[in-house]
Symmetry: C2
């Protein structure tokens, strides 16, 4: 099987959420697996000097409109969350913990449930208790999950994962790397597909 | 005929150039005219706190790659200019002057020639003499063009056009407004087309 696709995202990123609803299906169409990498965009922004879209003059108002319009255009369930953006340490750490304890498939299922809780059900996954509740609903051990996401090991891992992503050139969400080729944004999925299909773009 | 589409761009913007090769054809397909608006992104960036892509850490390297890849993907002639980005006052003022003297169609023909000179032929249109030469090749009066682009009236107009664009929410290049709906980026042309075709997106 050809190399897995690396998919980087922040749980507070609407475009990251949009990508999360399509990446597995797109990869599977071309016989690829996907490795899901939660990262902290806040850490990345310290390097690039950027900020969450809603906080940037002019871009902020446009972005909210574009989130809703792009969701409609791509037929993706979306409701603008009341709290936005939010800290995503808890969600990202929890996903890494699930991955280490229950494997990739469970972790991806959990990540999708977290995205859906936030961007469809308007639940604030910035709150560790909400993160644990989403896990519990999937049959995960909520108490173990809460302890796990607060462990030093998982905190260190998330920091290292984010640093590693930046070392690979990742600076936004979603960010996809296919066979060394980097793609920033859900709006590059047409080019991602061209590369998967033709071997070049 | 339905309202014209407003198309805003900076002459130093590769994505603006890509859009310039497609906007007229796209609009004509749905019976629309296009009003071309050169603006100065440098002025806009003072408000948004942004900077030219190549100057942003990490994004810069990616962007160069994305310019070339996106050009290939969309089958648009493109060669990365040696000087990039460049000041675009001369080009923008010259276009406004041509518009005032020779009308919209001539101004658009001139704008396309300027974009092509810069992004295909690697001529530095940041240089007013190159701008005049591009005009001369189209049969415009080079001396009058040089004088015109340095006139106070045209300088004032460009400042006012840029301010007006910002007042309408324009903060990037390309930026398209169709029936009040704003679209930022060449990668939103699929949504622009959906709006033109269906009356909503």
């Amino acid at each position: 099987m050809a190399s897995a696709i690396d998919f980087y995202f922040d749980f507070s990123s609407p475009y990251g959420y949009f990508a999360s609803t399509r990446i597995d299906e797109l990869a599977a169409k071309y016989g690829r697996d996907v490795e899901w990498h939660p990262i902290l965009l806040g850490v990345v922004f310290k390097t690039t000097g950027s900020a969450p879209l809603p906080q940037i003059p002019m871009k902020g108002e446009y972005s909210r409109r574009d989130f809703e319009r792009s969701a409609r255009f791509h037929a993706i369930d979306y409701q603008e969350p009341t709290a936005f953006p939010i800290p995503t340490q808890a969600a990202a750490r929890a996903m890494l913990w699930v991955q280490s304890k229950a494997g990739d498939d469970r972790a991806i299922e959990f990540a999708k449930a977290l995205f859906r809780a936030y961007f469809v059900e308007n639940r604030n996954i910035g709150d560790p208790e909400v993160v644990a509740a989403v896990g519990t609903a999937l049959g995960l051990d909520g108490a173990a999950l809460s302890a796990g996401m607060n462990s030093t090991a998982v905190k260190d891992q998330l920091r290292a994962e984010t640093d590693l992503a930046m070392a690979k050139g990742v600076f936004g969400s979603p960010f996809v790397i296919v066979d060394g080729e980097p793609f920033w944004g859900f709006d590059r999925f047409d080019q991602v597909e061209a590369l998967l299909r033709d071997g070049r773009v």
